[in-house]
Structure formats: C-alpha cells, structure tokens
Symmetry: C2
Subunit: 428 residues, 2 copies
C-alpha cells in the first residue's frame, strides 16, 4: 500500500551528494564554459578516487545498519537486515541503485543520484518505522561508464550473468591497468556469488542526460526501456586528386561520400520517425587539405531504436545505401561494427507504478525511452525493472556543467520512495 | 617561320632533369605507395636545397652564354646576348620559364620541366645556328609553390607588378624565416628592376597535374587560361548533444550541416557543368566523438571556374544556400575568404600557335583550361601568354609519384621549341 504522507529529506540527500562529489572533484573550468557551471567529478572506475567514493558510501550503508555484500566484480549491495522486517529469511529484496564511477569530465548526479537516493529512501523508511513485506536493497555497480575499462555497464552485466567474471577480471583499461588487479588493490574484490541473486524488482533513479523533460516542462520520466544501439565505423577509400585540375566526372571523392552518408543517416532517422535517432559524430578526412580531393574518410555512424526489428531494418537500409554509394562514386566502403546492443523493454507494471506514483504526488510525467545505457537494462534480465528520470538542465551530461534543479531531485527521490515502498509492501 | 625539322635533344633534357632532381631528392616511400614510384623532390623556396638548384641552373644558363639577371625577389632571367642575333638592342625577348621550387613532397617535373625545357630549346636553337629576330629568354620565378611562403606565385606576381617588392620581402614563412633575409642568405637578392621588363610574349611548358590528357589519350594541352579560384573556410557552430538522448527535431548538428554543404557543392558543380569544379577537401568536427552530436565544424570550400561571372554566380548560390541552411538547422555559419583569384584568359593567337605547332608535329592536342595556378597567369598581365601541358600519369602531382612519360616530355619540349622560334622569328 502507498504511503503518500512519507517524504524524503532533501537536505540530507543533497548533503550526501555534496560529500561524494567532493571526492575527485573537478574544476568547473574543465570541459565547459558558461555562467551556470557546477563542480564536476572525475572518479574513473577502480581508481583511488573511486575507492574513496566507495568507502564513503559503504560507511553510510553501514551507518544505516544494512548488510553490505561485495561480489567478485566489486558490485556492492546493501540490504535491510532480516531483523528490520517481517519477511522470511532469503526473501528477494526490492533493489534500487546505480553507479558511482564517472567519466573523466563528469558531473555529480550521473549515477550517484540513484545510489544516494536509494540510501535516502531506506533511511526515510527506517526513520518512519514503516514495516515492509520485503527488504529494500541499494546497490552500486562497478564501471558503469566504461570510461576506463570496456565494456560499460560491466558490473551489472556480470551481476546479471551476461559476462563471465573471469572474462571481466582480465579486461585491460586505457591506462594498461587490469580490472582484477585494480579490484584487489582497492580492496573491492569481494566473495559474493555471481551471477547475483535475482531481486524481486529493480528500479533505478537517474538523470535524463537529454533535453526532453526540460523542453516539455515535465518533472518525471517513466522510462519504458533502453534503446538498442548500433555503432559502426566506416572507412571510405577513394582517390586523392587535385581540386582544380580534376573534372567532377573523374573524381572518387571519399569526403563527398562521407557527406552523403551523413545526410543519409539524417534522412533515415526522419523517415523512420521518433524514437529512431541517427548520428554521424566523427569524420576524419585524409589528407584534409583545401585543394585536394580526399583520398580516405573514416567516420562513425550511431543509430538507435527502442525496437529491435526496426533497428535491424535501419541497419539494412544503411547497408544498401552504402553499397549503392560505393558503386556510384567508385569508392570502397569498409564497415566495422564497434558495438551492438539490442533494445531493452522494461516491465509494464513497474513502469505503470512509476507513472502512477508521480501522478499521485502531483508531478507531471511522461513515458519515454532511455537513449543512453544504464545498469537497469542489465538488471532487467533478472527481474521486473524500470527507471525514473529527472530532468537535465540543457540536456547536458558527462560534463561538469551537468545539473538538475533541487526540486526535481527531490521529486525523483520521492517517486523512488513511493515505488520502492509499494513494491516491498505486498508479497505476491 | 617554322622550323619543322628542328628537334630538341631529349637525352640532354632528361639528364638535366635528373641532375636537378638529385638536389633535395626525396625517398620514394615518402607520401606515396605503389609499384610506379619515382624519386621525388623537396626544394622549398629559398632553402639551402633551393639555392643548390638555383646555382646548378644558373651554371647551365651561363654555360650557354646567356645573360643572367637576378631581380630583387630572386627571379632569374637568362636572355640570349645581343651578339647572338640580329635584333636591335633592348628588343623585348620571347620568354619561357617556370619555377624550380617544390612542395615538401614534390615530384621532379612540376615547374622544373618548364625551366629545363626552355634551356634545352635555347641550346637547340644555338646548336642549329638558327637566326631569330628576337632574343629568347628563360626564367625561373621565386616561390611559385607557396609551400613555405604565402602567397604562391610570389616571384612572377612581383615581376608583373601585382605586389610591391617591399611587401614580398617582409613575408614570414611557416618556419618563421623572412623572404628578404632568406634571399640575402642564399645570395639571390638581385638588383634587376621590378616590375620586370615586359616580354614580347610568354609561353610556359608544364605538366598538367590532372588526369584529362591521359584519360583522353592526348599528348598536348593548349592551355586557354587559368581558372578563377574562390577559397572559403566555413565555421559552423551548432550544439553538442548526446547522440542517444537528443531527438532529431531538437538537434543543431554542425556535422550534419557540414555534410549538407559538401553535398551542395557537388550539386552546384554538376548543375553549372564543366569547367565548374567544387571541392570540400577538409572537414574538422568537434568533439568528433561517435556518440556526441558535433558542436562545431570547420571546413573548406574550393570552387573554380574559367569565367569570372559564372564563378561569382556560383559564390552567390553558395551564399544563399548557407543562409538557408543556418536557418533550417539552427546553426551559425561564419565564412572567411582564404583566397580569391579571378580567372585568367590567355592570348588567343598564342593558344592557336600552340595548337597548330602540335598539329604540325603530328601530336594530338586539345584546348583546355588550367585548374591550377601558374607563373604564366601573372605574366599574362604583361604580354601575350599561353601554356603547353603534357600529360600527368594518373593525374598525380605534388607527390613523389608524379610522372610524365619521356615521349610526352619530348613532345612538349618540341612544341615549346616550335612556338618560341615562331614567336621570335618575326618582329611585328
């Protein structure tokens, strides 16, 4: 049953966000400009800064009397003890959580909000003396960002059984470090079993990292799933020629072919319609000179959709276009897949619960897919899962200027509170 | 009158090309690959290598008994002495020539051919005891390439009065060197008057540096003029956004706008038709990441036409397109002119002379514009001028792989011989 009068303590939550952000804090001038700068964070996974953040959060978990367990990939799950409730021993918890690692020029909310709001919800429930039928648990997963070690979402992927622990431990980072060695070094190579226990449900609060909620003046996103991602690198090989002396009909212009691909990707996204997106974010021409027809172009194509069949169709359309383009321009186009993730659909009941919790608190809400990847998409393999989004000012993230208004943080945490309490208040 | 039986000594010409190419010679592996590699050259203007090349050519000029004069910008003009002919003192010579500086990864024919073929023609005329009515002169002009000092065609531009000597002498190069200081250092700051004496006519033999002659199986190009050049740098400013979380309708994608410009430039060139050409050779996106909508794009647009009114129309079309694009995509586009040269039309009579000389030698010939700039376009300000092109294998130039078959070199030099002798054989 819902507890509408219950509310989180926003000052306590903000104090924890501040304290965690102080570890690995980043000068606001790095990576951004403008009057609205906030202090950023650099806590790359399994670095000394990450260890300091982990230690702080674990201290808070223990202060709340939670059972803290660390598994072999360094995921930390803090669960309400059996003594705190009326549930049977071994009852699967209702879990929330996210990650506390950041990108190199990260903000203070990405990931951290979900972990600290989970702690805040548990403290609120405990302080109010609410009796639940299932324990609550809050987790932080290792290396969600993938900024130091690939792949991203590593901890939750291993937790959900999507990657063997042994494989993850041998991954080498961009700085040469090995995951397993770094986990030992910082003291987070735990003994908890992997794959991890399936929770009763999983719900993650996260900033949107996009502009949709803010632009529509909404406070809460009830996240319906995570887009599938198809990343390809194209290498186009044409022929270098003098820009003045080579008639148009005799050119094999890799730069022109790259431009055609970029305009095709836009056309494809518009024709398929929302939520299809397509982006050419990187183009490198060679020799990249004003008066030389480019010999080669290397470029990336990022296409995403929430529906796997549609994403496959978009990939097929792109493939046909590239064949035609190579033929018409007399160039060769080599395609290399950089990443491919299928879309994830969240649980309709949990999504409904998020939307109704927001409504009942008088908050504006929309259902929306996530364009970015999150730990919740891995947990969705194990149990009914959804996410709650709060607005990102200007859609800015992975940037010290990342910001969410305190009212929106509070609203998001209160929706999380309501959903967790409801999910833990009745055993099926 | 024509001297059809007269012919240059191709072995002597090739020996001089070899000897000059040995100075500043470049390993064939630099800047190219393939089985057809030739030794390249690096003799950037006014370097020690350039001085060595100049000294060698001046020695050859003096060996032929020519009067060698160096002017204030280092142009060297070698003229048949008065004693060699029947002409009045002060009679304007019929001049040929080109340049001997190269780009950093240059070939052995670009420029050098025109200078050494000029020497070869004079030696042929002298050996045959031909009596001319005007002296022949052969020149090499300073810094045609512009690879070390801007602008290119500097020596001929100053010779023709298009740039004050004082301005040219203060130009600083990419390595910090000053033109005037470098001229003093290598001993080529001469006393000859500037602007220079107007020749009776000027004719330059040069490799095509493009693929047209080879692709049409022709041996000689009778060059009708030099294309006008319009170079602009565009800076497109959009907004950086997450490639997954930003709906297509909310994007201000500088990379997409750059691609639209590149496809427009191609469309413009095709609609205007030959000889209009248009090239986007350089594109730089920022931050240039696979999953980030580009915030800015810097790119170049190179458009050329032989007709000034048409070139202006093409520029106007581009300008209108950029305005519409900026509006539709919500980006700003800043345009900076990097270079603007009006087309140069060569002298119809001299062009006819080139074409008829080729025909009378049984050579295949076509009239064609030059897509690249040449010293002849500066000399055209002073006197009736034209150029002779010989084929470039694969259209390749500014590259150690630059190559012209020896039969074509011989044909080009013989056409030059015929044209120079005819121009010098009758005083008007």
């Amino acid at each position: 049953m819902e507890q509408p009068q219950l509310s989180i303590d926003i000052d306590r939550l903000m104090a924890r966000i501040e304290a965690l952000a102080a570890l690995g804090s980043l000068d606001a001038t790095e990576g951004t400009s403008g009057p609205d700068q906030k202090l950023g964070c650099c806590r790359l996974a399994l670095t000394d800064e990450d260890k300091a953040g982990r230690d702080l959060v674990v201290t808070w978990m223990k202060d709340l009397g939670l059972n803290v367990a660390t598994d072999g990939i360094g995921n930390v799950v803090a669960t309400m003890p059996h003594s705190a409730g009326t549930w049977e021993p071994g009852t699967a918890p209702v879990m929330t959580g996210s990650h506390i690692d950041t990108v190199r020029t990260g903000g203070r909310y990405d990931g951290n909000l979900g972990v600290l709001a989970g702690l805040e919800v548990i403290e609120t429930v405990q302080s109010a003396g609410i009796q639940l039928d299932r324990p609550l648990a809050v987790a932080f997963f290792t290396n969600e960002e993938g900024a130091r070690f690939a792949p991203d979402m590593m901890g939750s992927l291993v937790y959900a059984g999507g990657m063997p622990l042994e494989t993850a431990l041998t991954v080498q980072g961009i700085d040469g470090a090995i995951v397993g060695e770094e986990l030992e070094r910082i003291g987070y190579a735990g003994a908890g079993p992997l794959p991890g226990q399936a929770p009763h449900a999983f719900i993650e609060l996260h900033i949107e990292q996009g502009p949709v909620l803010e632009s529509e003046g909404l406070q809460i996103g009830a996240v319906t799933g995570v887009q599938g991602i198809s990343w390809n690198e194209l290498t186009i090989t044409g022929q270098s020629n003098h820009a003045g002396t080579t008639p148009m009909s005799m050119r094999h212009d890799a730069g022109y072919a790259a431009a055609r691909v970029a305009t095709f990707v836009r056309k494809l996204a518009l024709e398929f319609g929302d939520p299809q997106v397509g982006t050419v974010g990187a183009i490198d021409l060679h020799p990249n000179l004003i008066n030389v027809v480019a010999a080669t172009a290397t470029m990336t194509v990022d296409i995403r959709n929430t529906d796997e069949a549609t994403l496959k169709l978009a990939e097929a359309h792109l493939g046909i276009f590239l064949e035609q383009l190579a033929h018409s321009e007399g160039v060769t186009i080599e395609v290399r897949s950089l990443a491919r993730f299928e879309p994830v659909a969240f649980d309709p009941d949990v999504i409904d619960l998020v939307a109704s919790a927001a409504h009942s608190q008088g908050l504006s809400v929309r259902r929306m897919p996530s364009g970015a990847g999150h730990d919740a998409q891995m947990m969705a393999r194990l149990c009914p899962t959804a996410m709650i989004f709060t607005p990102s000012v200007g859609g800015i993230s992975h940037n010290p200027a990342e910001h969410t208004d305190v009212d929106d943080l509070s609203a998001g945490a209160n929706v999380l509170l309501s959903v967790l309490v409801q999910l833990a208040s009745s055993t099926p």
